[in-house]
């Protein structure tokens, strides 16, 4: 018996020892800078990049015509373009690409690369294609190309039918089949008699290469923040030559696409400070400094590792024991962060202004789902609900990262020169009075209303607080309905809810990135609220050449939104990250975007 135990223990010791030796052999050198992104990078095809972790990764690999300022402002600075001329009417940008700007494989970066990328963006649209709509003819080209693909699909199908008919010719095809009076499908005339549909000409789009290094972009109307848009990853250039071997043509429609393999190492060629070295799915991505980047002398780190880790506790432990230098976002697991925030551990935790707002979206349509009468169609009810929420307990007890409570939609102090309008105050008396006027005194006559949220985050807790406040202040009770995110998204976008938790995070450096959501034409307007004056103000703002005028128009638009209250603002997001004191070059900014050129760990 004793021998048995000894044998087993010895075997286990050997096993462990062997494993230790093995691990010693394969352990790789740690990167100069190691960080955990918000989640697994989903795609590096710039066309499809839209998740915030993908956007962050893109800044490691690419550089736009403009790029984000590594210093603590949000203003864009010149990137791979060394000089930009703007016409007097502010609609024609001429970008002079730096002569020394190169791809990671040493090829010259040219204006044609941008033409290729933006053409592909319009013909194979992605989440952010709409950012190109500011360019003259871009939206029209996208539409025309969609139509062409559909038309060409029909044309090609007809040809297949003709070919098949020919194949069956040997006596089987009867004259009646060619009878023009016959109703129904029949063989098409031979190819060549009808011309194939014409491919829409990209030359109609206001993007042209004047020479190899000069790109001219003509906008529909002045867009003050266009430089900022070119600093956004979906508009970064792609390297056509390395993608060519992944080109696929759909035999049914003639539409061109690229196999996802082109975004993997060693195929991916980018133009930023780093190149993609290795991508181990769900483990880590390694980036190595590019030898060809034009500003390579300023790049301080030779290698960067992006480690995959989605469990907040594991993220914190990896940071705590020194395996990673930076945890870029910790919004998903507020417990650890909130504790650190409560203990004022500013040596580890950084909290800064965010670029988004948490609010409740109210269904403003005439009828609620199922044809029920909608109490929220009455603006007084929306006001009452909004004024009866005391928001402080929410940020103090649930989110706990010092989020500013708010009565406005657009985060104040983020956009230079933008003054936020007044929102609705917290005023229970006024709220009760409004409810009485609307026909629900003390909560009488109140119908059955449900509050929708997605489970898995802190939305349930917030909803419980709000529900109790409404019950105590207004005497109305709401049912809470928590569903999974995928169901939540579907129901929110289909307006299949009464009142729902919602949020919005801006994309580019202009208040219109917020106001656009509530245009009557917007696909993201989930509230069913329509206001023509709001639409008109936003449109005028978009066309205004004077920045102050534009901001004033947008301010008026937001004032209308707050007066009408299709959304009930609760608080503004903050950005929180865990960062060691010796990590240099990361500057807080509301968008939480980082220019990795300057990031390094001080030894």
């Amino acid at each position: 018996m004793r021998r048995f135990v000894i044998v087993i223990s010895a075997a286990l010791l050997l096993l462990l020892g062997g494993l230790t030796l093995l691990s010693g052999g394969t352990r790789e050198k740690r990167a100069d800078f190691t960080f955990i992104n918000r989640g697994e990078t989903k795609t590096l095809d710039l066309n499809r990049v839209s998740w915030s972790q993908d956007i962050r990764t893109s800044y490691i690999l690419w550089e736009g015509l403009y790029t984000i300022d590594p210093v603590r402002t949000l203003q864009p600075v010149l990137g791979c373009a060394g000089k930009v001329d703007l016409s007097d009417d502010k609609t024609v940008y001429t970008f002079h690409i730096r002569p020394e700007a190169k791809w990671t494989n040493g090829d010259d970066l040219t204006a044609h690369d941008f033409l290729f990328t933006w053409k592909r963006m319009l013909e194979e649209p992605g989440d952010y294609t709409y950012l190109l709509y500011y360019v003259r003819g871009a939206a029209e080209h996208e539409k025309a190309f969609q139509d062409y693909v559909a038309e060409n699909g029909r044309y090609l199908a007809a040809h297949r039918e003709y070919r098949d008919a020919l194949a069956g010719w040997n006596g089987k095809l009867k004259a009646a089949d060619w009878d023009v009076t016959k109703v129904g499908p029949r063989p098409m005339p031979p190819p060549g008699t009808t011309p194939p549909p014409a491919v829409p000409d990209f030359a109609n789009v206001g993007v042209e290469a004047l020479d190899a290094k000069t790109l001219r972009v003509t906008l529909k109307h002045p867009v003050a923040y266009f430089p900022d848009i070119t600093a956004f990853p979906p508009l970064f250039p792609l390297h056509e030559r390395s993608m060519r071997k992944f080109r696929q043509v759909d035999p049914n429609t003639g539409a061109v696409s690229y196999d996802k393999e082109f975004t993997r190492p060693p195929h991916l060629v980018s133009n930023g400070p780093f190149r993609l070295h290795d991508w181990a799915f769900k483990q880590r991505i390694r980036f190595v400094k590019s030898e060809h980047y034009w500003d390579r002398d300023r790049v301080r780190s030779n290698t960067i590792d992006q480690v995959s880790c989605e469990e907040p506790m594991a993220q914190f432990l990896m940071f705590y024991n020194g395996s990673v230098d930076w945890v870029a976002d910790i919004t998903i697991g507020p417990e650890v962060a909130a504790d650190l925030y409560g203990k004022k551990r500013t040596d580890l935790l950084n909290v800064g202004k965010g670029f988004g707002t948490y609010f409740y979206s109210v269904n403003c349509q005439e009828r609620l789902p199922g044809g029920r009468k909608n109490p929220f169609a009455d603006v007084r009810v929306r006001h009452a609900l909004s004024m009866a929420i005391d928001k402080r307990p929410i940020v103090e007890n649930v989110t706990r990262l010092g989020e500013p409570v708010t009565s406005t939609y657009i985060p104040p102090g983020v956009f230079q020169g933008y003054k936020s309008p007044e929102g609705l105050p917290y005023d229970v008396k006024k709220a009760q009075q409004l409810m009485a006027e609307a026909g629900y005194p003390g909560g009488g006559n109140w119908p059955r209303i449900r509050l929708l949220y997605n489970t898995g985050a802190h939305h349930a807790e917030v909803a419980q607080i709000v529900r109790r406040q409404w019950l105590e202040a207004l005497g109305i009770d709401l049912e809470l309905e928590g569903v999974e995110l995928k169901i939540f998204g579907e129901r929110l976008h289909n307006k299949d809810y009464d009142i729902a938790r919602a949020s919005w995070i801006g994309d580019y450096l202009d208040p219109s990135t917020f106001t656009d959501k509530y245009l009557s034409t917007s696909g993201n307007n989930d509230s069913g609220w329509i206001n023509m004056q709001y639409d008109r103000l936003c449109d005028e703002a978009a066309r205004a050449t004077d920045n102050a005028v534009r901001l004033e128009k947008l301010r008026q638009a937001e004032a209308i939104l707050l007066a009408e209250q299709p959304i009930i603002p609760v608080y503004h997001y903050v950005n929180a990250d865990l960062r060691r004191a010796n990590v240099k070059g990361i500057r807080e900014n509301p968008r939480n975007n980082v220019n990795f050129r300057d990031v390094y760990v001080e030894k």
């Binding site: 018996m1 004793r2 021998r3 048995f4 135990v5 087993i8 286990l12 462990l16 494993l19 230790t20 093995l22 691990s23 394969t26 352990r27 790789e28 697994e40 989903k42 795609t43 590096l44 095809d45 499809r48 194979e124 649209p125 992605g126 989440d127 294609t129 709409y130 996208e142 969609q146 996802k260 975004t263 993997r264 181990a280 799915f281 769900k282 483990q283 880590r284 480690v307 995959s308 880790c309 989605e310 469990e311 506790m313 594991a314 432990l317 990896m318 705590y320 024991n321 395996s323 999974e484 995110l485 995928k486 169901i487 998204g489 579907e490 976008h493 949020s503 696909g523 993201n524 989930d526």
Partner: protein
Amino acid sequence: MIRFISIRLLQFPLILAVIYVLTFLLAWVAPGSPFEGDRKLNPVVVERLKRDFHAEHWHTFLRYYPRNVLVTGDFGPSFEYPEWSVNDVISRSLPVSVSLGLMALIIATVFGVTFGVLAAVRRGGPFDLFSLAVALVGISLPGFVTAGVLLLLFAVEWRLFPIGGFRNPYELFLPAVALSLMPMAYVARLTRVAMIDTLGSDYVRTARAKGLSRAKVIWKHCLRNAFLPVLTYLGPAAAYTLTGSFVVEQVFNIPGLGQHFVNSVKNRDQTLILGTVMIYSAFLLSLNLIVDVLYVFVDPRIDVTAKAD
């Protein structure tokens, strides 16, 4: 024997087909769409995505997809990770899960049997109580607690092991221990009961009477019999260590298949749901077959061919 195995193997495709159809139906009946999220997508983009996945309607998907899976073994692209196909995802994470599960299974069996035997031999003694305590903890404490405690002690406090990741087998040891606790507790209890039973039987007394040493009797005569219930349990235990690794994978940040098994459902990633379910099913079917065959070698009294007839 060969006949038994071949009949079982012939049943595989049928069982897998039933599982496939059921999973497919459930995945498509479930409300929510993989193309939905916080923000609404451009309808043109959604159309294009749906075209890419042949998912315009459930019937176009049904017409195209199963044939593709059968003919090429390609489960198609993942809805959630557009850069990776389901085959990519599985081929990268399955080896991790299998090595983790196997390691946990070995630890559970070796230690479980040892604990069980020792507890049975010194019945009522301090070791028996100790093994009972370990078993109780193993069975009652949920994985995220034991895994968390192990992580805090061994990786954070004493820094003997890394916090997570899967770069080499050494990094898998701690999670494997966490995963093995539950089956280990079962194995220990099963062995103990069977061992006590065997120790009291006549042939053991005979063996002792003819002068064999106690150790030899336990090792040669008792263990084999006492191992039978453990073997029966190893099938489900393998299933547990393979599919139950989700929590441990989360805590230790291991890129295994368990997370995809759970998250694909949350994300309505229909192709990945099908892929993981089919892979797991195939695995479990094979494991059960192996266990059945192993019976014969451990206990010659069992005749599996009789069952098949």
